[in-house]
Amino acid sequence: EPHSCPRHTDTRTMLPLLLLLLPAAHGIARLGYTPVLTEEPPLGAQKTASTFVLDQPRCVFKDYGNADIWLVVALDGSRWSSAGQGACGGPCTPHQIPPHPHPLPAAESTFDNTARPGSNETAFQSFPDPVHAYMTLNATLVNYPCPKPAGDITVLRVGSETSCAQDERRPTCNGPLPGPGPYRVKFLALEGSVPVAETQWSMPITLTEAKSPNTISTTGSGHSAGMIAITTILSILFAILLAGLVAMLVFWSSDSCSGSSTFSKPESVTVRRYNTHHVYDQPAARL
């Protein structure tokens, strides 16, 4: 009899353990891949004000040929989980403050992998408030053949569909992102509606913020060396000429300096006649 009691306890503790292990057996595989922004080839529009470009997840979901691969885009609330103003490093501009009063939680902790794409909880049109993460860019393994052919540009442009951005009938729209972020993304493989695999969350992606052209200063460019040289040299030359003119006029008004070596005018040059054959001084000698 004392032995039967422990046996009863064993089966009772085994059952909850088995129940705990069941979900793990059908659990989500956590793949080691981290989504990254495209670095090769270098793109001019890798990050714009409302789009960014990711590498396609080639050779990542090899074992999940039947699954739909979705991209989950979440607003990374970790920046806002602390007190509001301090997160901006100064006064926050309207761009920086999300249009809601409560700080958003971090993406990883709130996104539920069992969320269905195309539902109200993951609709793009309700992003970022009240929806904190949306699902888009549905694809299958056929779209991401492995290995990637060399020379092909295999990218995903997040935010390229502008036609459905306001269309509530298209909740999986790949619409332009509403603000500078930061955002975090991951890929999620769903078989039917059951999540089977997911990648890591990416590093936070912050988009570019445009400044007003009024911040461009067009004054105070300074003067180039050429302009300063021209001004200085010409001023000096002009000053010398003016001084020369003044000296000339002073010289003119004072008669005393009519110099010894003056240039005679052509009219006053007399032609000397050499009277070699006229003896004018002979009568003086005869007398």
Partner: protein, 256 residues
Amino acid sequence: MAKNDDCVHILQGLLVFGNVVIGMCGIALTAECIYFVSNPHDLYPLLKATENSDIYAAAWIGIFVGLALFALSILGIIGIIKASRTLVLVYIILMLITFAFEMASCITAATHQDSLTPELFLKQMLERYQKSEPANNSDNEITKTWDELMFQNHCCGVLGPSDWQKYTSAFRRTHSDADYPWPRMCCVLNSQGLPINLDGCKLGVPGYYNSNGCYDAISGPVNTHAWGVAWFGFAILCWTFCVLLGTMFYWSRIEY
């Protein structure tokens, strides 16, 4: 006195030669400035929109200064050969006045050239390119000039396509960032004027969009214009200075 005569003739010869050179340079300056004024280059709408037309004022002054230099050089030659004190004095005073005007023109042209910085054109482009309600005709002119500039020179923006990303603009107000990260003219276009690969252009793939800025293409013609007026005028003035100094010395030695 023979030696003095020789000095006279040498100095007269030098001064006449100097005046001949001034006369020819005066004609050349007039011709050059008439060319600049009557044949504005394609970028003239951009310069006009900066509301600083000093460079054209400098060119207009250059036309009249050139003619004055030519006329005065003839007067100078006559006065030197006749050794007439009055004529040479009149010549010197009028030449000084002309010198002052040409000096103003050179300094204005050089200063204006300095003011044409990349930031000036960047601000103008962002505020007026493809403005949806053009305030006056010059906005349309600016848009046409920029389209032509970007198409001919295979360039985008002033410093690069990132100008359209770093700053908001009149263009951005009517064209969404996702569809138009930069204007279509920044894409490499085929013979029909359509982008050869629109997605490649929107992504910024090298080879499908123009990745360098247009400032070099703008500053080239503008600099030629400014240097033609400013530095050529400066050279003429340096030569004129020497001739005037010689003339002043000659005048002081003419027998009264």
